[in-house]
Amino acid sequence: MLKLIAKRMGLMVVMLLGLAVITFTVANIAPGDPARLAAGPDANQEMVEQIRVERGFDRPLPVRFVLYIEQLLNGDFGTSVYTGRPVAKDIAQFLPATVELVLFSISIAILLGVPLGVIAAVRQNRPIDHAIRLLSVSGVALPMFWLGLMLQWYLALNLDLFPLGGRLGIFSDVPEPITGMISLDAVLRGQFAVVGEALWHMILPATALSLPALAAIIRVNRAEMLEVLGRDYVTNARAQGIGPWRIIAVYSLKNAILPTLAMIGLRFGWMLGGTVLVEGVFDFPGLGLYAAKAAISSDFEPIMAVTLTLGAAFMLINLVIDLLYAVLDPRVRNQI
């Protein structure tokens, strides 16, 4: 197990390096003069040229890449032109909000998706199965961005049931940060009213963010359950007189959840990407919104840092999922 973790960590470094190469190249062949941008709108040509030499923008791309990696290894993520602050500081501020939102969203998707998939399979071709399939199809068909706008327009603006955006109301007492995730911090600090408010603010963006994942989880889990329920070991369990509840929720689900778990890992990546859109719609001050603003203003160093952070997060999640796989399936456990 420890060997697997070590191996995967090594692999992660390689993959992150690859990701850095790609992002670095794409960001640099995009139109826009980085020296001009860094110098600001009022700078004259001379100042721009001075900055170009000072910051190394005149050097060839591969050299600049190596220099950039060196800078990263020294723990320096650079400075954001847009916020004027060190990128590391920005990320430390915005990442917890996004992590909170994504964890909340994936929890919704799992806690609803797995049982709904099971129910649909157990009641195959009955009305409840059709209803669940409709939900699943709409989750695939509706674009996240559009869904977010519609939820905001109808439930928040028209019906005034939910806040329009943000993480908390303006008069709320923000808990002293521990993790940076407001709901968790509020729990830790015992400010329970704030917990509710933070979750309340996340419901609409989390709904938009989780619907595609929910749809995918339902679909995979339903199909897997259908298959598992037809397996011989289920027949044998029934022949022993074991009750339907135990057969479905324990004997079958533990087998069916394995492929679902793989799907959850993939969906995590989609969700991290989706935060760029959804945080934009709901003005949710997370990493997605930060990345969107950085991209619009061609703010190079934040773009790199956010990409690498999200990439690392995705890889970590998938490592956790692989470990869970080994915990659940003894056949996998023996191989590692």
Partner: protein, 338 residues
Amino acid sequence: MDPLLDIQNLSLVFDTFDGTYHAIDDVSLSLKPGEALGLVGETGCGKSVLTRAAFGLVPSPPARITQGSVKLDGMELLGLSDRALRQVRGRQVAMIFQDPMTYLNPVFKVGTQLVDAIRAQHGGAIDRKAAREIALDMLEKVHLPNPLRQFESYPHELSGGMRQRILIAMALAARPKLLIADEPTTALDVTIQAQILDLMAELVDDMNLSMIMISHDLGVVAQVCSRVAVMYAGKIVEDAPIRDIFDSPLHPYTQGLLGALPHPFRPADDLESIPGNLPDLLDPPPGCRFAGRCTYRRPECTVPISLENVEPGHSVACVLRPGEAATTDSATKDLNHA
């Protein structure tokens, strides 16, 4: 003596996309206490469906029982609630199946599965510790080399023969009256097959079990059973003591099966197989279902033919009477004496 299991006029259909599939048609079969009955017939003839349907193990839909009755010790099983049926399955009827590789759950320890099954068999009335005692005791009874170790194993860590022993231990833990063994040795290699058959014979004797042994191998059946029922395309075509089946088979299909028996003195590729195919059970012929492959076919074979008693303990569903059909060659007949 009153029969232990009494199936009367049971019919079952599958509602499929292509239409109604008449899988079991008007089948009657009974089993006396202590009796070991072999159920033979080629693949797809309905042996598994028949024995599973009797105890509510065929999913419905798509299956639908259209007529008949199934009595165990005089109690009608058809129409029982799922809960009541579970009690019957766990406690009174045990089943073991063909492929020991697939009948154990891959993600739970053998011990967990045994304990769960044993607790279910007792309707939850015993605790895990007591169930564990019973499980270990049963593992010993089926001659596993190291019961404690096998108890802690996962199925993939064990051989096919060991897994089948575990499934047998699981099935018999509740000391049932009836054992349904659905091709319990087909998936095992020959030496293991013989060991498992020996074990089953020993346990049947020890525990005073009645048994239905399903197989398409008449040789296997001859080793453990005293009576044989032959199925063809969802119907029982002949039901007789094992001796009569080998010495004087009456149904042309039974004769064909005997002709298809591998014989120790004949190379295996010289098997006499019965030409032709199974009838289309989406639209079965009204008369004899074997007519399409029968060399003795006559005009009267197209009207419905039922199982009739022609000699004491020997029934057949065919218009032919003893002496009318040719008997099989003597080389094949000798097998059961060997």
